[in-house]
Amino acid sequence: MVDIVFLLITIVFFGLCVAYVKACDRIIGPDEQKRDAVRDTTRATRS
């Protein structure tokens, strides 16, 4: 039982790390290529 608790603590921590990565990725914004792709899509939709 104690083993499972410790394994869960570790897995939950790495889950938090994944969420932290997503948050930091939002801070720096999308890559230029992605940004260009979004711009192209928007232009295509407008035309």
């Binding site: 104690v2 083993d3 410790f6 394994l7 603590i9 570790t10 897995i11 921590f13 790495f14 790390c17 994944v18 932290y20 990565v21 997503k22 930091c24 990725d25 801070i27 720096i28 914004g29 890559d31 230029e32 290529q33």
Partner: protein, 571 residues
Amino acid sequence: MSAAGWLQFGVLIGVLLVTAPPLGWYMAKVYGEEGNAPGDWVFGPVERLIYRICRVNPEREQRWTVYAFSLFAFSLVSFLLLYGLQRLQGQLPLNPVDLPAVMPNVAFNAAVSFMTNTNWQNYAGEATMSHLSQMAGLTVQNFVSAAAGMAVMAALIRGLARRRASTLGNFWVDLTRGTIRILLPLSFLVALLLVSQGVIQNFAGHTKVSAVEGTSQVVPGGPAASQVAIKQLGTNGGGFFDMNSAHPLENATVFSNFVQNWAILIIPFALAITFGHLVRDRRQGRAVFGIMFVIWAAMSVAAMALESAGSPTLDAFGVDQAASAEQSGGYLEGKEVRFGPMASGLWAASTTGTSNGSVNSMHDSYTALGGGVALTHMMFGEVSPGGVGVGLNGLLIIAILSVFIAGLMVGRTPEYLGKKIQAPEMKLVILYILAMPVTTLGFAAASVLLGSGLDSLNNPGPHGLSEILYAFASGSNNNGSAFAGLNASTTWYSVTISIAMLVGRFFLIIPVLAIAASMARKQPSPPSSGTFPTHTPLFGGLVVGVVLIVAGLTFFPALALGPIVEHLSLL
């Protein structure tokens, strides 16, 4: 302070200055973009075999998020294997003295500790871990956790050096190359040197021998030298024996002590040179080296001087603590007589300036201010020279903060290596800087408030606070050294220090990789008359000042209640 102590310090500096540049150049070849590195004919086939077995495409570059997820996956699997190995060691081979399974809270703490390159140990190695756990578990983690830290450093440098790029390299390739080409060959050489000095390397169990005075004594055996070599080179620090490098079978002579002290420092210092090569501006590497060196040398001299001066308490009793022909002098409680106070102080500064954490003396027994030096050195964020990879990361983050502060002062857009530092990078720098103090001070405060935290103390009052602060500073900086006066094998300390180690490792690596990704996208602008040069002594002084101010503002109140008030109470 003794002439022999100064000589040892001078020789160590000399050897570091001679060996760091070639090693730094070699590591730049290993992590560089040129594709060829010395020793390809030996290491290349081994690496290709590993890539084939693990199905890694070495040509495939990773975006920063994928790089981070690869690191998490590798670390989680490492944790599971190490935890399982400890819990099952009673049923596994290479257990000559039939040690039982490691207790769950100790196994959890040790697995987190070695996976995060901390090597905090709340157990006695020779009485807890089988040879298999030591070799296949702890020693393997010593290699790969160090290589993982160096991989993150390589990613950060690529982020600073590349232009308009969206990738940072391949984690699996960096991990493999760091382990195979840097850590394994160096460890082999250092292990041979240590064996030549009497550090043991065997598969024996406990041997009963007759001591000189007629009593019998149990002498432990095991493959110590191979673990000690990587524990120092990888700035891991976890000892084969409970007494770590104060144990004569782990650190036998003054020469083995010198080799181990050099091994603690060489890779972190050499990585500064690597940085200069990889950003194609060696002056930047020398500047970073200089900053690391100045802080480390100052803290080393402080620790050596304070321990050599002796205890103010003994002064009050008129005890002669001066070095003479009859005695080595200084404060010797908790220190090995064969090393003396200067070699002990030098080691204490080296082990806390890196994220090493191994000890050749007991820091809990240091003078109040001597112990304060070790504690403060960790609180600088371990950037002088820091752990392998992560130390350079920390210093580069402080350098980015420094150019931002300098930019604010003169009203110019801050730049580092020609790239503009903007709001996203500064947000990430703040996240990086806050993680360690929040963990250290938060858990220390909780431990002081809770009865279960105070029950573990051996000393009341300010020294007890120092013991608690030291434990969490050590954990959240991934250092691993202990003040030893604290019983940390309780559930409270096992779990909270484990969480501190996890946060101190991964919540710092994540913003570093994000900053690397953000910087990699930028196009550097050519230097102009308004550019603040980052290779000058002026910039070096600014970075040192920022390190001191950030640590001082964050930790001075806690230090005032711990080692400082303890020293004043002795006067």
